[in-house]
């Protein structure tokens, strides 16, 4: 099947700095993909290249079977929701939404009903004649959505569109946004540095770091099977211990860590430096009951109570970290807690060159 959006070998450097490195990504029609990464990872650069606001040094871009790589932004038929919304302050809500239609020379009698329908869709029908400055942050965000969608684009790009909103509103807007895009069958690229947002919204997530995609997969897979220590660290929380492989064979490993020998699965050579990790909710507060489990005695540092759950933080040194998630009612006493998890839940990575 041919991809709706096909990014092939796109690269970009500013002076000596490589911002994007030979990046490829293909998306189905109607798919929602998040570009997730820390600031400076190249996600916004990629978004601007897609929009045509920045030209890449090399590579090809295809959208709906068209080569758009050399088209200026106004010929690409791509809608963009900007981080600060970039609403036109001198125009009303209605005129903002109608802007793209007028720019394309859409007949007058088609514009009004289309704008009204979009404004109703984002529940701003009664606000049509308001000035932008009179709207709240959430309302402005919805105008920006309606404006980008009004021209019926082949693709919509969202640049951290919810980051300016407070937490509560952001969560409501997430649901609304996802519903709206799904109803329209819109293909969307969503840039964010907020991993929770990416996990909640996306069909697939591209975790980006230093101009490359570290992993492209569904949210569940990214969380359960992170492809690198970076992804492990950036998405979700984890216990991670550095160690050295002391026994290896048959896809089974024994790793010597500062807190004892852990057993895990994987193919590493003996004496290899590795990072052994496990997600917090996979951990049970007891010693390993049988050979399918492995664990350590964890010195406790602090607890955080989160309503339904409780997080225990380990007191570890040397770049190791430990975090355990338990039901809130679990009683914990003492400074030491024996913890264990299934060997099949263990994640093993080659140790990163530089411990951060």
């Amino acid at each position: 099947m041919e991809a709706h959006l096909d990014i092939a070998g796109v690269g970009k450097r500013f002076r000596q700095t490589v911002v994007l490195e030979d990046l490829s990504l293909a998306m189905r029609k109607g798919e929602f993909v998040s570009l997730l990464g820390p600031s400076g990872c190249g996600k916004t650069t990629l978004l601007r290249i897609l929009a045509g606001l920045l030209s890449p040094d090399g590579g090809r871009l295809h959208l709906a079977g068209r080569d758009i790589g050399r088209l200026p932004p106004h010929r690409r038929n791509i809608g963009v929701v900007f981080q600060n919304y970039a609403l036109f302050p001198h125009l009303t809500v209605f005129d903002n939404v109608a802007f793209g239609l007028r720019a394309r020379g859409t007949p007058r009698e088609e514009i009004a009903p289309r704008v009204r329908r979009l404004l109703d869709m984002v529940r701003l029908g009664p606000m049509a004649s308001r000035a932008i400055a009179q709207l709240s942050g959430g309302q402005q965000q919805r105008v920006a959505m309606a404006r980008a969608l009004a021209v019926n684009p082949e693709l919509i790009l969202l640049d951290e569109p919810l980051s300016a909103l407070d937490r509560k509103l952001r969560e409501t807007m997430q649901v609304e946004l996802r519903q709206l895009l799904r109803e329209l069958g819109m293909t969307a690229v969503f840039v964010t540095h907020d991993q929770e947002e990416a996990l909640a919204l996306s069909d697939r997530i591209a975790v980006m770091n230093a101009g490359r995609i570290e992993q492209l997969a569904t949210p569940a897979e990214i969380y359960a099977r992170p492809a690198s220590p970076f992804v492990l660290d950036f998405v979700g929380q984890s216990t991670a211990l550095h160690g050295e492989v002391v026994e290896a064979g048959d896809g089974r490993l024994s790793v010597q860590t500062a807190y004892g020998v852990l057993r895990a699965q994987g193919h590493f050579a003996k004496r290899a430096r590795v990072l052994v990790a496990v997600r917090p909710e996979r951990i049970a507060p007891r010693p390993a009951p049988d050979a399918e489990w492995t664990g350590i005695d964890l010195p406790l540092a602090a607890q955080t109570f989160l309503g339904s759950r409780r997080l225990l933080h380990g007191h570890l040194g040397g770049g190791d970290r430990a975090i355990v998630e338990l039901p809130a009612e679990t009683e914990i006493s003492g400074d030491m807690l024996p913890i264990s998890w299934r060997i099949t839940d263990t994640l093993v990575f080659p140790a990163p060159d530089v411990a951060e």
Binding site: L53, P72, P73, H74, I78, V80, F88, H90, V151
Partner: protein, 264 residues
């Protein structure tokens, strides 16, 4: 207590200020409406006789038209040059941007008479002896600083992602500039253009060196009337200038708001 005294002083100063500032204007209007041929405020009756004599002033209309023409030309050129330079200063990354901005605003801070005489000598040396082109060129230097100042201020607050937004919505770059940047920055254009226009209309120190008998700008003509015919006809001319200035400010207020203009 001290606060009260301080406030009283402040209000007194403000009221005094305004009476002081408006006094010459009020007197000028008053004298123009007085029937007396010596400069006096009208005592009871009002007369339009000095306005009827306006037509008899030699060269008044010509000088008004010339000044308007020069000011319009200089403002138009300055708006184009100034906008481009302001964008370069605000958006550019080249070294010396601040110095460049100061340079382009500096004619406002330097003595007009010195600039005028320097231009005269330079234009002569370059073989430019005609009054009209000299005046047109020179007045761009008068207006440009006003435009630069308001536009750099306006542009530093302008959100350039608006242009990106307009482009993704289907406008080419030049069209995006015209449809989005120009209207959003309209207050800066209007304020800078208006004050620059008025400065050009009123310029004496530069113009005096560049005029000839056939090209006398309004301020030069006015100063000549003051020298040779001390009767209230000059007050009538001045009153018309006051009225026109007030009218321009009212238009500016409708378009931009006085407070915004005062901020410049």
């Amino acid at each position: 207590m001290t606060r009260g005294i301080g406030l009283a002083v402040a209000w007194f100063a403000l009221i005094g200020c305004i009476v002081f500032l408006l006094a010459p204007l009020v007197v000028t209007v008053g004298v123009s409406l007085s029937p007396s041929p010596v400069f006096q405020l009208p005592q009871g009756e009002i007369s339009w006789r000095w306005y009827e004599r306006l037509g008899r002033l030699d060269g008044l209309l010509d000088s008004v038209l010339l000044s308007l023409q020069i000011a319009a030309f200089a403002t138009a050129v300055s708006l184009v040059l100034g906008t481009m330079a302001a964008i370069a200063v605000v958006r550019g990354t080249f070294p010396g941007r601040e110095t460049l901005a100061t340079f382009l605003v500096s004619p406002l801070m330097l003595p007009g008479l010195v600039i005028g005489i320097a231009m005269l000598q330079c234009f002569r040396a370059l073989g430019l002896r005609d009054a009209l082109p000299s005046l047109l060129i020179a007045h761009v230097i008068v207006v440009l600083p006003f435009v630069m100042r308001t536009l750099t201020a306006g542009l530093s607050l302008f959100d350039f992602s608006l242009l990106d937004a307009a482009r993704t919505l289907g406008l080419s770059y030049p069209k995006a500039v015209i449809r989005v940047m120009v209207p959003v920055l309209a207050p800066s254009f209007i304020t800078g253009g208006l004050f620059g226009f008025l400065a050009s209309l009123d310029n004496y120190p530069i113009s005096i060196f560049l005029t000839d008998v056939y090209h006398r700008t309004l301020p030069i003509q006015l100063l000549q009337y003051l020298g040779e015919s001390p009767d209230p006809t000059v007050a009538a001319v001045s009153t018309l200038i006051i009225a026109m200035t007030a009218l321009l400010l009212i238009v500016g207020d409708r378009l931009v708001g006085l407070n915004r203009m005062a901020g410049v």
